[in-house]
């Protein structure tokens, strides 16, 4: 038994027989825990804001989650049984859902009946449908809000159960269930900020029932964990995004316009299809046409007639005998498009070589199937290459328009008709008006950008988005096509929107021109109707596609690519990090080139800074230690100890041994012998001793003296040692593991 120390040490504050019980005493902090869990659920739900418009759904979802947690906590404070709180909270959740969404079908407004279930079924169905049909961010319709409320009730209940059974870590499951929603709807981390908040709150949940710990350690560890989880994936091999579209797909739903922007923004383009053609011009292959404008979006005419004979298509709408045309064929091989529409030129006269059940729709002459997909199909389509004459076009009117192609909803923003009339009122004929619109949209200051509308929140083809688009003058094909189509209708020209592929890259292979169309060539363009000619394609999107022959004009903007035989440059960016909006235009102006060079210089500077930062970390740590000691010297107290520790560490830095057992005197003598002369070290040692053992009013140590001693020691070493002492000070290692010496 060691009996060496009999003097009782003064008790340090907080030290002693600490008899604090476990912090997981039942009831303790129950409300705080429930609040924490509610906050975590609310934060996870907030991550859905990228998929839904407005805030109402968030308040509703959070309220339901909070009610369930509140019911559980209340029950728990009233009843000791562990059995009832989950039952009561679930019942409360169901009752509130009934009250909120199907009160009239329920007994007393809260007790569900079979009618309530049926109502919920209908609502859920409508919610699912509107999720499928709407583009993100979607309007939170009743069905969607109900789905969110149900999700939150279930998740809150599960979270409360995890908390009650003292497995707070399991709360990860409900949180993940909420966070996964935007991920399932839309690839690309939905919102890093709300992920960060949720992860931080989850870490706080993990702290439930744990022992107190240094707040600094908890915060630093938590911060590293959360930020590291965001940053570290960049260091891992990238997720193979080539597979990503196969899961979510370049697949077109009922309305391909909805997801068109997302499909374009998704990185890593793939070969969608390739074709060869006998036509003079590259071919626009259409998937479908959208004729109905609801004000929110464009939609197809549902329920039009169908025909199954693919060798004999109906005559194109409105095409009169006076319009000259050439007959041409196109051989298409579809590789990676999952859609029920067949990419076909307009106007198609026949399609051969298809497998499966296909039929045409007479309005748009689109080819569709119910069960078979277009993927992997090889077929030949014959079509007409229209070449209306200028004279024809100059007198063309638009009187007998197909039904619905001139309708505009109420409340078109003022800017749309204003712009349309300002641009086109000078033109004489309908065709000139259309050309004026096209020229206006293709010219400066309109810019092509897939990202800007998303960043600024006007992505979409609705009226509100169009108003912002005309003001900001930046957007992509959906905006341009929709804007031209709506403005044409304002001017009395029937219009519709076609969705399909722009011509793609021409390659010369096997003696013929092969056009390869990538998924990035997905495109939307307006078609305008003229009596006697029918539907004519226009190309208002700057930098995309090819302007049709009849669409050119002598006074055309010189920037407009007129020669469609020149392929659009760099249509296939090699990396997803490219600025996607620029991919059709190599930087041409000196400013753009300078900006690009500046960016690469910035990147290399950043890398250099990072390397420097890592290299200087030990030195920084050592400097921090030194600063701490100098502060201790200035403050008095254990100045002597601090000063001598610093001298010891300096000696260790230059590779000398400095055992703790050595007194300052012997150590100083050793150093003096090593240095060859007793310089500052001797005087300093004297001061340290006086400070340590002398009267309290002994002269204070000055940091300047310490610096002098340090200089003396460092000067004795050669440059390499000094460099190492600066960059990788051995004293840090000693500090870390004093045993190793």
């Amino acid at each position: 038994m060691a009996l060496t120390e009999v003097r009782t040490a003064p008790r340090a504050a907080g030290v002693g027989p600490a008899r604090r019980g476990s912090r997981l005493r039942p009831g303790e902090g129950r409300w705080a825990q429930a609040l924490l869990v509610a906050a975590a659920l609310a934060a996870a739900l907030a991550g859905l804001h990228v998929t839904l418009q407005g805030l109402s759904w968030w308040f509703v979802g959070t309220a339901y989650a909070a009610s369930v947690l509140l019911a559980a906590a209340l029950t728990r404070s009233l009843v000791r049984s562990a059995f009832w709180p989950p039952i009561v909270s679930l019942a409360a959740g169901v009752a509130l859902l009934t009250l909120g969404y199907a009160a009239d079908t329920a007994l007393l407004g809260i007790i569900p009946t079979p009618a309530t279930l049926a109502r919920f079924g209908t609502l859920v169905n409508s919610g699912v449908t509107s999720i499928v049909e709407q583009r993100v961010p979607a309007t939170p319709e009743l069905g969607i809000v109900l789905l969110i409320a149900v999700l939150m009730v279930v998740c809150a209940w599960a979270a409360d159960l995890a908390l009650a059974t003292r497995h707070p870590a399991l709360i990860a499951a409900p949180l993940a269930a909420i966070l996964v929603v935007p991920m399932a709807i839309k690839p690309g981390l939905a919102d890093a900020f709300w992920y960060l908040v949720t992860a931080a709150l989850y870490l706080a949940v993990l702290r439930i029932g744990r022992r107190r710990d240094s707040r600094r350690v908890v915060l630093v560890t938590g911060g590293i964990l959360v930020l590291g989880s965001l940053l570290l994936p960049y260091a891992l091999p990238g997720v193979d995004a080539r597979d990503a579209p196969r899961v979510s797909g370049l697949r077109t739903g009922l309305n391909p316009l909805i997801s068109l922007g997302d499909d374009l923004r998704r990185g890593d383009p793939m070969l969608a299809l390739s074709y060869t053609t006998s036509a003079q011009e590259p071919v626009y292959l259409r998937l479908t046409t959208l004729e109905t404008f609801t004000g929110e979006t464009w939609g197809p005419i549902v329920g039009s007639a169908q025909g199954g004979d693919l060798t004999r298509f109906p005559a194109p709408t409105g095409l009169g005998g006076a319009t000259p045309y050439d007959e041409a064929t196109v051989d298409v091989t579809v590789s990676d498009v999952i859609t029920n529409w067949l990419p076909a030129p307009y106007p198609t006269t026949s399609v051969t070589g298809l497998t499966g059940e296909w039929f045409w729709e007479p309005d748009g002459l689109t080819v569709r199937s119910v069960e078979t997909g277009a993927r992997g199909q090889r077929y030949q389509a014959s079509f007409l290459e229209l070449a209306p004459t200028s004279a024809q076009l100059a007198v063309a009117t638009s009187r007998d328009a197909p039904a619905g192609t001139l309708e505009l909803p109420d409340g078109v923003p003022e800017i749309i008709p204003q712009t349309a009339h300002a641009v086109a009122d000078g033109a004489a004929s309908s065709y000139d008006k259309a050309l004026a619109l096209q020229t206006y949209l293709r010219s400066e200051p309109f810019e092509y950008s897939e990202q800007a509308p998303v960043d600024e929140g006007f992505d979409g083809s609705g009226m509100d988005a169009l108003a912002v688009f005309l003001d900001r003058k930046v957007g992509y094909c959906v905006h341009y096509a929709s804007a031209m189509a709506v403005m044409a209708r304002e001017l009395g020209i029937p219009s519709r929107i076609a969705v399909g592929f722009q011509p793609g890259d021409r390659q010369f292979a096997d003696g013929s021109n092969v056009y390869s169309v990538s998924t990035d060539d997905l495109h939307a363009w307006p078609e305008l109707y003229f009596d006697g000619i029918g539907w004519l394609r226009f190309e208002p999107t700057p930098g995309r596609g090819a302007v049709p022959d009849y669409g050119t004009q002598p006074v055309d903007d010189p920037n407009t690519p007129q020669d469609e035989s020149s392929p659009t440059p760099s249509a296939l960016p090699t990396s997803a990090t490219d600025a996607r909006g620029d991919r059709d235009e190599t930087p041409q102006t000196p400013e753009q080139l300078a900006a690009q060079q500046g960016a690469s210089a910035l990147v290399s500077l950043g890398v250099l800074a990072a390397v420097l930062l890592v290299a200087l970390t030990p030195a920084g740590f050592r400097a921090a230690v030194r600063r701490g000691r100098i502060r201790r010297i200035r403050q008095g107290g254990d100045a002597a100890a601090a000063a001598w520790e610093e001298v010891r560490d300096t000696a260790r830095d230059v590779g000398w041994s400095a055992p703790e057992s050595e007194t300052p005197r012997t150590f100083a003598a050793r150093i003096a012998a090593e240095l060859g002369a007793e310089g500052a070290i001797g005087a300093f040692r004297g001061h340290v001793e006086a400070n340590a053992y002398g009267r309290p009013d002994a002269a204070a140590l000055s940091p300047a003296e310490l610096a002098a001693v340090r200089r003396e020691i460092l000067r004795s070493a050669d440059l390499r040692t000094r460099l190492r002492a600066f960059l990788l000070p051995p004293s840090l290692l000693y500090r870390w593991r004093p045993d190793d010496r």
Partner: protein, 426 residues
């Protein structure tokens, strides 16, 4: 004092908790899943889970405390059934403030012990670096017990990994048999032939009692009393009173064969056979020896196996002699190595006590020889078989039958009663 073979010596472990394992598994599966599914969000979740578990492991390793522990017992020797206060002085020997820890001292017996929190110990001056912990132990049995090492446990802030480390040495707690204060009136003092004892006992107080006698051949010259020689005209030597106390002899059987109820037991350190009857015998031995010593006897403890008991020393050795006697009793154990039984010296007078369980015939013979002629003998028989008992009774011993769960005091009173019966007092 530390035993190198003690299994607690090496323990310094860092383990993932169940939560940590689950998180790790989730992280790895998400990581594996992220590539075929092709979602970067899964990668983020996987990295968070992996960082949580592996980072927790790292934090538990980095923040594992380094403590130097000094353990003090108060009182240093405790009697069985008593309470000893254990004071631990934990000094932070690391270079950073320790985190809040759970601590627990390793005790060989089961004791209600709450795992306690140890508040952070800062680094700084020696006083600030040291935390003082207290707790109590309640040993129920005599023996030498290893106490320690101090086991401290740290769990990372998010409960993913736990580091357990044993700090400091193992210290030995000596638990002596509880001594029962026996009242006067045992079998000896009822004994009638007390004359010699009384004289001798008077001699106890008279250290300067001095007489002289004539020189006899063989007396040492330094014992010559010159003044008396001058007065008598012949050599006189100092006649020193033979100041020995009456000799009480306590015979105890420490042979394993004498205790049929013995079984191997590992609670004591090092492991030794345990027998309830033997424990009773040791308790009785302690109480009886202390009682006889108090009554003025010189107590001689005789063992049937190799001697383990330290004799209660001479009176001038002071109070510590009892303590060292009791301390030696703490370590007494049953032995199965026998040596030849030595015959008793029959020169001194005094009663003989035997504390036996079920000795074999050889030991019975030997015990019977221990009683000096004309002196009384009493045997405390803890479940002795009949024939042995008959022999003691036939030889005129006072035989007190006890069971191993009897109270010492009751047995002592019973012996007095028994002695009274024997003499027809009732």
């Amino acid at each position: 004092m530390s035993e190198p073979t003690s299994s607690l010596r090496r323990s310094r472990s860092i383990r993932l908790t169940v939560r940590g394992w689950a998180t790790l598994v989730v992280g790895v599966s998400l990581l594996v899943l992220a590539y075929p599914v092709g979602r970067r969000e899964l990668l983020v979740a996987a990295v968070l889970a992996l960082l949580l578990s592996l980072g927790g492991l790292l934090v538990a390793r980095v923040r594992r405390p380094k403590l130097e522990v000094i353990r003090l017992f108060s009182p240093p020797v405790v009697s069985a059934g008593g309470v000893a206060q254990v004071t631990l002085r934990a000094r932070n020997a690391g270079s950073v403030t320790t985190p809040t820890l759970l601590w627990n001292d390793a005790i060989p017996w089961r004791e209600r012990q709450q795992p306690n929190e140890l508040a952070p110990i800062r680094i700084g001056s020696a006083a600030a670096r040291t935390a003082v912990l207290h707790y109590e132990v309640h040993p129920r049995r005599r023996g030498l017990f290893p106490i320690g090492p101090l086991v401290v446990e740290y769990t990372d802030p998010f409960g993913m990994a736990r580091s357990v480390s044993a700090c400091g040495d193992v210290d030995r707690l000596t638990v002596v048999p509880a001594v029962v204060d026996l009242p006067d009136g045992g079998p000896v003092l009822v004994d009638g032939d007390g004359a010699a004892q009384l004289i001798q006992r008077r001699a106890v107080g008279n250290d300067d009692d001095l007489t002289t006698r004539e020189y006899r051949a063989g007396d040492a010259l330094r014992r010559v009393h010159w003044r008396a020689s001058a007065r008598h005209g012949e050599l006189m030597v100092r006649q020193e009173e033979h100041r020995s106390h009456p000799d009480a002899r306590i015979v105890i059987d420490t042979r394993l064969t004498g205790y049929p109820d013995a079984f191997p037991d590992s609670e004591s350190w090092p492991p030794a056979p345990h027998s309830d009857r033997f424990e009773w015998a040791v308790r009785m031995l302690a109480s009886l020896a202390v009682h006889l010593d108090d009554s003025g006897f010189r107590v001689d403890v005789v063992e049937s196996a190799t001697g383990q008991v330290e004799q209660i020393g001479e009176r001038w050795e002071g109070g510590q002699r009892i303590e060292s006697f009791l301390t030696s009793l703490a370590a007494v154990r049953l032995l199965d190595r026998h040596h030849e039984l030595v015959g008793a010296s029959a020169d001194a007078a005094g009663p003989t006590f035997a504390i036996l369980a079920d000795p074999d015939a050889e030991v019975v013979d030997w015990v019977l020889r221990q009683r000096r002629p004309g002196q009384s003998g009493a045997v405390f028989a803890v479940g002795m078989r009949g024939e042995s008992r008959e022999r003691f009774v036939d030889n005129g011993w006072l035989c007190i039958d006890v069971r191993s769960d009897d109270d010492i005091l009751d047995a002592w009173r019973a012996s007095a009663t028994e002695a009274g019966y024997l003499r027809g007092a009732y």
